[in-house]
Symmetry: C2
């Protein structure tokens, strides 16, 4: 059929088409993306796009599948790398990996954001379920294990803990792309150093809010202590 015809293309051209399509969808979402414009910006004819992908939806799904595979791969890598680490260190590393991914593939992330709130994507429901594996497959077991090991307080609904982690981590990533969400913290297109500090500060708050009794937070809480080895990103203004 069509798609193997696309696969028969030579590498540079294939990559160029994928990149161009990612750019188009990330800028305009699905419906508002224009194959006329895409074809023109790629310097190929619109007819070819239809030969390769059948229709607009086919092109989008192809792009989307590639992106999901990319994310899964990276997450699996982090999971493996931090298998032996403390719960909150896992969180820290996951966040750092997220930031890194997003810097490397900003447009891929934007497609995801668009799809989240723009309801006219094709197969939106199914695709989002595929993407939200982040909570289902990644965070949830991590939380359950953390609870079992006493690192995370176990008197709360684990699903709710997952929800909180997901909320705060996702927003942290969004703030890197959407200037209105950074709230003066410097997250939006901030330097790696600033971002690193904020990750540490975030993880510390999470530790205070969620840590279990099994962990070694000595005093009333771990204020500045425990696992923080890079200086938490805090001003000390008044008191």
């Amino acid at each position: 059929m069509g798609i193997d015809r696309f696969m028969r293309l030579k590498e540079p051209k294939r990559e160029k088409i994928v990149e161009g399509a990612v750019e188009e969808f990330s800028r305009y979402g699905f419906r508002q993306a224009s194959l006329n414009r895409l074809a023109q910006s790629l310097g190929i004819s619109k007819g070819s796009l239809f030969q390769y992908f059948g229709n607009k939806e086919g092109l989008f799904l192809f792009i989307f599948d590639q992106a999901v595979a990319l994310v899964r791969k990276r997450l699996a890598q982090v999971k493996q790398e931090t298998a032996e680490k403390d719960f909150f260190e896992k969180i820290r590393r996951s966040l750092a990996a997220g930031v890194d991914f997003l810097r490397r593939h900003p447009r891929v992330y934007r497609i995801y954001l668009k799809m989240l709130f723009q309801e006219d994507f094709p197969l939106r429901t199914e695709l989002l379920h595929r993407v939200r594996l982040f909570s289902a497959e990644y965070l949830r077991p991590m939380v359950l294990k953390g609870m079992a090991q006493g690192e995370v307080r176990s008197d709360m609904d684990p699903d709710f803990v997952v929800f909180l982690l997901d909320a705060v981590m996702d927003r942290f990533l969004q703030a890197q792309c959407v200037s209105f969400l950074d709230g003066g913290t410097g997250l939006y297109e901030g330097s790696a150093e600033v971002t690193g500090r904020l990750i540490d500060a975030l993880v510390e708050v999470l530790r205070n809010g969620l840590a279990g009794d099994g962990m070694g937070h000595a005093g009333s809480r771990s204020r500045g202590g425990a696992h923080d080895d890079s200086g938490l990103g805090v001003q000390v203004p008044g008191a």
Copy 2:
């Protein structure tokens, strides 16, 4: 010009038009919204819409201004009602008011969500700045006051605290509208009771993570104690 011609309309018709427009924009965003479809569903001619609002953008701005006014009014009300309350009680009440608003005006909230991630809205930048007053005008002074009074730990960047609160509260609201974000917590279109419990659970985690030394959390933290007078929404599964 046009808009006062709209104002001269009789009340039921005016309201019907506003409601129809909110429905259209909330379903389709700006670009994909169709004035043909809107006119037809309203049972008036397209020409009239242009007489009233000049163009599509004018109609959208009119709708948007009304919505912003609605939100401001409600927030001011909550601020006044909780002026004498504890910091975390303020947060709790604000969240509850947010949930309430969102149930009363679900389509207004959806327009906001669409605009956040769909970049082709007219005047998007300016409008979002106007809307994000939530952090700037509402949360920030609250946090600063909380820090000054020792209710909130003051060794962190206040902007970062605002960011965290904003993130978690916003996501909490989003989860009521977007099924993929609720993560099995039951927030998505959940009952008032479930939502109430989750608000309490959320505030408790925030208290543990952010409370200052001025507050009365006696032990290593306020586990289940302190200000929680409605039973925190927690299962007690294993331990």
